[in-house]
Amino acid sequence: MNPVKNINRLLIANRGEIAARIIRTCQKLGIESVLASSQADLDSLPARLADQVINIGPPPSLQSYLNVEAVIKAAVQVKADAIHPGYGFLSENAALAKASEKAGIIFIGPTIEQLDAIGDKLKARENALAADLPLVPGGAVADAGEAEKLAAEIGYPVLIKAVGGGGGRGMQVVHDESTLAASMTLARAEAENAFNDERLYLECFVERGRHVEVQVLGDGDNIIHLGTRDCSIQRRYQKLVEEAPAPDLDPALREHMENAAVAFAKHLRYRGAGTVEFLVDTQRASFYFLEMNARIQVEHPVTEEITGLDLIAQQIRIAEGRPLGMSQEEVCFNGHAIECRLNAEDCMNNFQPSPGTVSAAQFPAGPGIRIDSHIETGSVVPPYYDSLLGKLIVWGEDRATAMSLLKKALEHCQIDGIENNIILHRAIMASEEFTQGAVDSLFLNKLLETVSLEKTTNG
């Protein structure tokens, strides 16, 4: 094992709420934070929270947040000990990990080999097979012809996915052959733009299932899990609401999934924080491996709330070369946490993104309520990046308590000046089905058909 190397100055190669989140842990640990910011974010809240800000380029991501050279140059210039890539952007990019190593800077994430084995979704499938995990039928497709052949084999509907990444980018669901070629083209463009990798693969699309994932931590030798998260409420294959632990899961199935996640991470000798995503077929009480995310995830706070751990601090600790600070038996699970992703999007108009200026932002506060956001009154939401404005997270002793707190918290949450999805979250929390317990991936579409989202007028 590598010798321990303390991180005293950390370059944050990201933006938005996760940049603010990482800076907060830096402050707690006494680490100096340097924000690598594009021109568009120089006036953002994270830029003001950080100890230092360095401009890494023009607003478009390819020229700034996705520019490995610019990030490394900034890290060298400010003499950072480590780079935290957050999520999205370069967080699972092996080129950044390699360039960091070459520059003698710690990349906060798994090893280059692990990034390669996980980031390439096809290699991840092979590794999952090797670790004895169940897989959704599918495979690589080089062009529309191959896609047609494979889709005919496994049956429609199918899901086109980007080999190079996740987060819903480059993902297209196809119901029949007539739209397959066009969807491939669009997915390829999105994949190319988001991951600089246009390769696609195709999977059988399970319309009715639950997305349940397991958080893991590893130091290369020891692997532990931090329980499950349910992320079944999604739009455009991106999560909207997440909760921990996943509710209404058969205890044996839960244990089986937690063990499978640990087995997969052990197979890779995983180092860092990671998430193994599963698709749960509720009717058959079975599950399939979807992918592993080799980064901190947007929804990590719900796990933090039920374990009492700071996952960013854990990532830093592991990156410094220290062994895990706890065994599986020492992980305590307590209560229930739910997160709402607040997005700048028009939920009445097919979730069309809505950049602009926030004329007023008001967030709830109080015991059990947590806000992870970079938005405040006057914040500009640039059109270049994703639409996440922040996260409202609540914790309660049980799911019912958390739900009732969340309903109240949402009443005191208001973002004006841009379209946002707070009204949708209120509708979700008011729905009988979600109040009762676990929902599947069809829930949101059904809800959108039945509920009318009244806009509240603000005085």
Binding site: S61, L186, A189, E190, A194, A344, P353, Y385
Partner: protein, 156 residues
């Protein structure tokens, strides 16, 4: 009311520099009533009918404009405008053939471009039938909502 969104925007730009908080215009064709919002940051358009007042935030007015019929220019060409703010891409991926070029014939559902906003790729349909005559946006250019992208000669 037969004023276009652009007309209203132009009037608002003129009003921004004045001290007035309210403007009511009445002609045979239309009635336009604009009131500066309470926080002075923008304007609210009021359509007044006796006893019943409807307010439209101007941002939402723009949204309804999307579905409006394209207006022919003096030369008889139809404008194709950006339905949203974002980065305009003329081809499906860098280096690829553009979706359409001058002289391409298009139908309403022909994809003419991609506009990327907040990491979401939106296929932009022509919305009209005809022949592409003029390009007004270049690849990877940032476009505003309503900005002219191209002009099309309508097919008879």
């Amino acid at each position: 009311m037969s004023l276009s969104h652009e007309d209203v925007q132009e009037i608002l730009l003129l009003l921004d520099d004045t001290e007035y908080d309210e403007l009511t215009l009445e002609t045979d064709r239309f009635t336009l009533c604009l009131v500066r919002s309470a926080d002075k940051s923008g304007w609210v358009q009021e359509t007044e009918t006796r006893g019943k007042r409807q307010e439209t935030r101007l941002a939402s007015l723009a949204a309804s404009e999307e579905q409006s019929e394209p207006v022919a220019t003096e030369e008889g060409l139809l404008d194709v405008r950006a339905p949203m703010v974002g980065t305009f891409y003329s081809s499906p991926k860098p280096g690829a053939e553009p979706f359409v070029t001058v002289n391409s014939s298009v139908k309403p559902n022909t994809v003419i471009a991609i506009i990327e906003v907040m990491k979401l790729m939106n296929s932009i349909p022509a919305g009209v039938s005809g022949e592409v005559m003029e390009f007004h946006a270049v690849d990877a250019q940032f476009v505003e909502k309503g900005q002219l992208l191209m002009r099309v000669r309508p097919s008879e």
